[in-house]
Amino acid sequence: MRSIDDFTRPLENISPMDDPLGLIVRDWAEKYVIPHRRKFDEDYVDHKFIEPAFDKLMGEMGMQRVLFPENMGGWGFGRSDHVGTSMYRIMEEVARADSGMAVAYGVVYWPLLMIAVEPHVNYELCKEFAPIFCDTEEARFAANAMTEPQGGSDIENMEILGGSTIQTTAVLDGDEWVINGHKLWPTNSGGVCNLFGVVCTTNPGSRDPDDFAFIFVPADTPGCTQGPPYQKAGMAADKNGDIWFENVRVPKSYRAHGPGLDAMYFKEMVSLGNMASTAFVGGVLLNVWERLYEFVSEETYKGQPLKEHDAVAGLLADIARDAEVVRIVGYQNARMMDRPDIYGARWSDEQVAKARLYKYWSADVGMETLGKAMNLMSVYGADRDWDIEKHWRDLKIVQLWLGGKQLGQAEVARWFWDLETV
């Protein structure tokens, strides 16, 4: 019998950590997530079932420390040449069990990428924030507070709008930033966040990249409030809510890098966020293959296993094809993130556009595949017990976030076709 390991990875390009880490995470998923994931939807507020699994992975196993330099209690991935492929594999394994957990865990790194990844490690800030994540056995969460009520896509649409729509302001008052604004939807908000990376403007309405500021705000800073989690179609393991910053004061040094550089490295976050999204799709498709394998082997039609019906087999081939191709493309994107020396800076327009392309393509493929898998299962396709419907509900947001498909299309068209106005 085949296993998910029969789906191809580009073996000559993966990190030395790929299997050791991947298998540890798989073991964790089998023990702490898969047996409980059918209860996650109703647990979206309390996280009674979800929290222990996070504590195990991130706190006890230490996976929330991986980006930080070794001398600060971290594992030094941020300074390695396998940050992309290692992350890809870890995200894929977590998403195979639950893509909501994968995003919540992945977003712990997301704002930290600004300060913990070569060639722009900010050692001072790493030192400042490492204890939050490295000196504990409990899960700790970071969030990337970008989206605002008037729109998330516009904020990400840096090339055309240059940060001019950001309403959250940062004003320097002596040695402190004073932040005011309202964010919504960040992964790991809804009450769980420990450290926010906040997208701000120092000059509202400006398109000058110098005025784009990425400032860290520990969640317990006076004036910073989180609302309760929203109810959503899926992804219960990811809490999303409102965050208000009212005259929040943080030291001047909490700005990630400074004028121009914050805007530049923010685009790297976009690249890596899209790469991780492809990994979520890839992980989900591997689990769809596993669960569907069981279904089409057990259920019978005309006296034979359902999978032996020729027309059904045609569809099963397509589903395997999609899982295989998404994995290959995803790893390729991860490799591009590993090796900016070959593929160009992670924040370059090319890398951003290509990561968006892989993400929106894979999310579309993933949703179509999931829909077909559910359909093949007849009335059972809607059963929580078969897990596939949960993946279908969870994965939908991967299509919608990070500016939505249309922003992705616009950026891809802009890069490949030299567009100037779209």
């Binding site: 729109g151 649409n157 709008l161 929203y230 039609y301 059904v312 045609g314 829909g371 279908w392 939505g404």
Partner: protein, 401 residues
């Protein structure tokens, strides 16, 4: 402009009664469901059950197709296919799961109670339920999971059927059924039959309500029929053609319910398109060419789905012109339309969610529930890969099974 005028269809086929019923149901959907759902979400006891009681008992939709002689309103003619289409569009706008419940009920009633073909034994047996003013006639159909393979088996002995099935899965409402319609292989016969059984008949064991993707008003569960007995006349559809007629009515109901869900999605997307601003302060959402292209596509799907659905209704409404509902051509047409509309609803509502990004994914905006409901409803039609065998058989005389 209401959807009635906006999305064209051959409305001359509708009677005045159909039109006024639809208008009343539009009001029911607004007052019983849409105005309350922000607070009550998908609460069964607080929102859905009261709305169903109002609809089925007070407005009386469970009596609509039931013969007058047995206490119903007497619209038990094929023309009711158009009536139920107009009704289900509005019901599903309010709540798609309630529309599916009605679709199942009307499919079962269609094979007991059609004028000229009434089954007096079944009408007598179920008159108290379907004509009731206080008991919901929650109907649960146990259909083949895979094309035409029954989940249940029935044996006739001394004028009574004994129905046998272990932990089978109805398309809806297994946990609450007041009546089951069970598609069975019939002992010693080549063809299948649909047997009507009271929900509390001896030997019926309903499992616990299952967690599932959508359709909150349908509390579904696995059901066991342990030698459940029914008089011979309770086989309300016997043989391929009769069973296919029931399915054709169900497929019509599912299509009309999808159209209703699409109307609701259209309304939500329209509000978003009118009010959301993107590209800084530059652009009202609907004026962006890239997003308006997607919105246009969503509208196209809705318009075509509606036309197809009314055409199917017309086919079933006019057996003098098109032949009986259960004939192979009409059955295949019903199946094709239902699958087409269901797939199109999945695509269009999925696209609408994409337009609304996080808002599309949040329960607060209500769009995501139509997405879940229509997908769940699609699964009642069985796998598309196998449905295509029926199309190939009809159009090419393929022997593929």
């Amino acid at each position: 402009m209401s959807e009635h005028d906006l999305f064209p269809f051959a409305h001359e086929w509708l009677s005045d009664m159909d039109t006024s019923l639809a208008a009343n149901l539009e009001k029911w959907a607004a007052s019983e469901l849409m105005e309350k759902r922000l607070e009550l979400k998908e609460d069964y006891a607080g929102l859905l059950e009261p709305a169903m009681r109002k609809l089925c008992l007070d407005i009386g939709l469970q009596r609509l197709l039931w013969p007058e002689a047995y206490g119903g309103d007497g619209h038990n003619t094929p023309a009711a296919a158009l009536t139920i289409t107009a009704a289900l569009e509005q019901v599903a706008r309010g709540d798609t799961s309630i529309a599916l419940l009605l679709s199942g009920m009307w499919a079962l009633q269609s094979c007991m109670a059609m004028e000229g073909k009434e089954n007096p034994e079944a009408c007598e047996a179920f008159a108290d339920l379907f004509a009731s003013k206080d008991t919901l006639a929650v109907t649960s159909l146990v259909l083949p999971l895979f094309r035409d393979e029954p989940q249940a088996h029935a044996k006739l002995s001394r004028g009574a059927w004994s129905v046998e099935a272990k932990k089978v899965r109805p398309i809806a409402c297994g946990a609450d059924a007041a009546v089951f319609g069970v598609y069975c292989s019939l002992d010693g016969e080549d063809e299948a039959g649909l047997i009507a059984l009271p929900g509390d008949a001896k030997g019926v064991k309903k499992g616990k309500a299952l967690l599932k993707t959508g359709l909150a008003a349908s509390r579904n569960a696995d059901v066991t029929f342990d030698k459940t007995k029914a008089p011979e006349g309770m086989c309300v559809a016997r043989g391929r053609e009769a069973c296919r007629a029931a399915l054709a009515w169900l497929y019509l109901g599912v299509s009309a319910s999808n159209v209703g869900a699409l109307f609701a999605s259209y309304e939500i997307l329209r509000e978003w398109g009118d009010n959301r601003v993107i590209k800084g302060k530059d652009q009202v959402f609907k004026n962006n060419p890239l997003t308006s292209a997607v919105m246009g596509e969503v509208a196209k799907e809705i318009a075509l789905d509606r036309m197809l659905t009314y055409n199917l209704a017309r086919v079933l409404a006019a057996p003098d012109v098109y032949g009986e509902a259960g004939g192979e051509r009409n059955f295949v047409t019903a199946c094709m339309v239902a699958q087409q509309v269901a797939q199109s609803a999945e695509k269009a509502i999925g696209n609408a969610m994409e337009m609304m990004a996080s808002a599309g994914y949040a329960t607060e905006w209500n769009l995501e529930r139509y997405w879940r409901d229509t997908k769940t409803m699609q699964l009642c039609l069985g796998p598309y890969e196998l449905a295509k065998m029926d199309y190939a058989r009809y159009f090419y005389q393929s022997q593929a099974r």
